[in-house]
């Protein structure tokens, strides 16, 4: 809370340098730029989830619903309404955020496992709609027949359609804005009320914080950024299918956050990176790649309950 000293800034500086240079070093070590984009997109989703999980203390198992709504919002806008990538992103964010704002009041009174269960239930509703409504959503086959399009500004055109580096930097710019807003909120008086709720809900209530209202706000903010991640995910793949809404996708976000460390700001991004890279590598070796990710997850939870970043931090401190 006090003047940030340089030591505390080092992790952030390292993260930003790695992200900024990713299209250059990732191919050199055997990756490809789209993989980097995926890390950043899923990292944004996991960090958005962690705004609620790690900083408000509320576990959602239904964030895929808003991720998927963002994805379908973007894809359907471009496919059916206007061939504009920018508008697709905006519609994706609005659809996901509005859905979260409406569903919020129905669930925020619940706590713990009850909250988690109900978020799953609501998520599954959207999944089945996308799955069944064949002629609009493409059903199980997904929504195809569209692609992301170059961004046109009055003075210039950025070809995010064919240039993976350009798309990566678009994703990174939106990631930077989102993460910046979340970091800034967490350092504000409002953010401290969220941390207060995480630490001790009863004390927060008796400080005069209307806890349900603040949880609702945290939920909407978190789902809003997840919707953006979903929209970017659809653009990255030029495709969206109902699995983006399925509850196991929500579980993946939770795994990323816990794997990386939900008490660290950057933890979920690290978790997403580990998840994406492991999946990319393992799935080229074996069909049972999920078993290995599962095993890795169990080991981390057992031996490093604060996640990979939490462990590194402890090593550095001692």
């Amino acid at each position: 809370m006090d003047a940030p000293n340089l030591n505390k800034q080092i992790p952030s500086i390292v993260v930003w340098l790695l992200l900024l240079a990713m299209p250059y070093w990732l191919p050199a070590i055997g990756g490809y730029v789209e993989l980097g984009s995926e890390v950043v997109v899923l990292g944004l989703a996991a960090m958005a989830l962690n705004f609620l999980l790690g900083y408000t203390g509320v576990l959602s198992f239904g964030h895929a619903a808003y991720f998927g709504l963002g994805a379908y919002g973007a894809a359907m806008t471009i496919r059916y309404l206007v061939p504009s990538t920018g508008l697709g992103i905006v519609v994706g964010i609005v659809v996901g955020t509005v859905a979260a704002a409406i569903i919020g009041p129905l669930i925020i009174r619940l706590r713990g496992v009850y909250f988690a269960m109900v978020t799953i239930a609501f998520g599954q509703v959207f999944y089945f709609i996308a799955f069944r409504w064949n002629n609009v959503t493409g059903g199980d086959d997904g929504l195809t027949g569209w692609t992301r399009l170059p961004l046109h500004f009055g003075f210039a055109t950025i070809d995010i359609q064919n240039n993976p580096n350009a798309f990566y930097y678009l994703v990174l710019a939106l990631f930077a804005v989102s993460v910046g807003v979340m970091a800034w909120l967490l350092r504000s008086p409002f953010g401290r009320t969220l941390i207060a709720i995480r630490e001790n809900e009863r004390r927060a209530r008796f400080l005069g914080i209307p806890v349900d209202q603040h949880i609702w706000m945290s939920w909407v903010i978190s789902c809003g950024f997840v919707s953006l991640a979903g929209a970017l995910y659809a653009l990255l793949n030029n495709f969206v299918d109902p699995r983006a809404l399925y509850w196991t996708q929500s579980g993946d976000f939770v795994i990323m956050a816990v794997l990386g460390g939900m008490r660290s700001f950057w933890g979920p991004l690290i978790g997403a990176a580990i998840y994406v890279v492991l999946r990319d590598y393992l799935s080229s070796q074996t069909e049972n790649w999920q078993s290995f990710i599962g095993l890795f997850f169990v080991l981390v939870v057992l031996f490093f309950p604060r996640g990979v970043l939490g462990m590194i931090r402890r090593k550095v401190m001692s």
């Binding site: 504000s188 008086p189 009320t193 630490e199 001790n200 008796f206 005069g208």
Partner: protein, 250 residues
Amino acid sequence: MSLLRVENVSKQFGSLIAVDGVSMTVEPGELRAIIGPNGAGKTTFFNLISGFLTQTSGRIVFEDDDISELLPARRVWRGIARTFQITEVFPELSVRENLRTAVEVAAGFRLSPWLSGDADGEIRARVTELMDMGGLAEKADRLVGELAHGDQRATEIMMALALKPRLLLLDEPTAGMGDQETYDITQLIRKLHRDQKLTIVLIEHDMRVVFHLADRIMVLAEGKMLAEGTPQDIAANEAVQAAYLGKTAA
């Protein structure tokens, strides 16, 4: 005008009547102690006043407004702050952060995404003032969860005080403390009452503390009010001695 009027309040849990038709009037500036054997309904009574529980029947009036149906946060906004028998703080935050959160909420910044430099300066000054008053200045940057019990309790009381309450409810402020800690907390409460003219209602088991601090004492037993009066009245009351003081003396 009385600050707080509790009118014939009852609370029933299933077949158990935890609080049974209790009334109490607290005047501004008063320090009221509530005593009684375990299970007398003291904490339930506190929970009704602070809104943690809702009464089965009866009415609670604060500064001439009926607050019986208000949510806890709204009662806090009206000026009722409380502490708990088992200390409720933010254990993984520092003393400074604990108090800062309380001060910011009290100053109306709970929804603010930013603070002006002036507001930030005032908040810091207020936090420092509270830490000094609670004897916590040296532990400002320690995590509250790592502090001794007495310091955790002092932090909790200072957080309640940060809310600038007109009524402070303390549930067993010296519970589980050694002699020195009990003395320190007692002095702190005395100071708040004497110097700041704060109205305080406290539940307490330690009779030294009660008779040292209280202007008036209310005795609860089995959910009912057994007696009410000055410390001298209570000490002389035979029903109280039989039900309570006698047992502790024996």
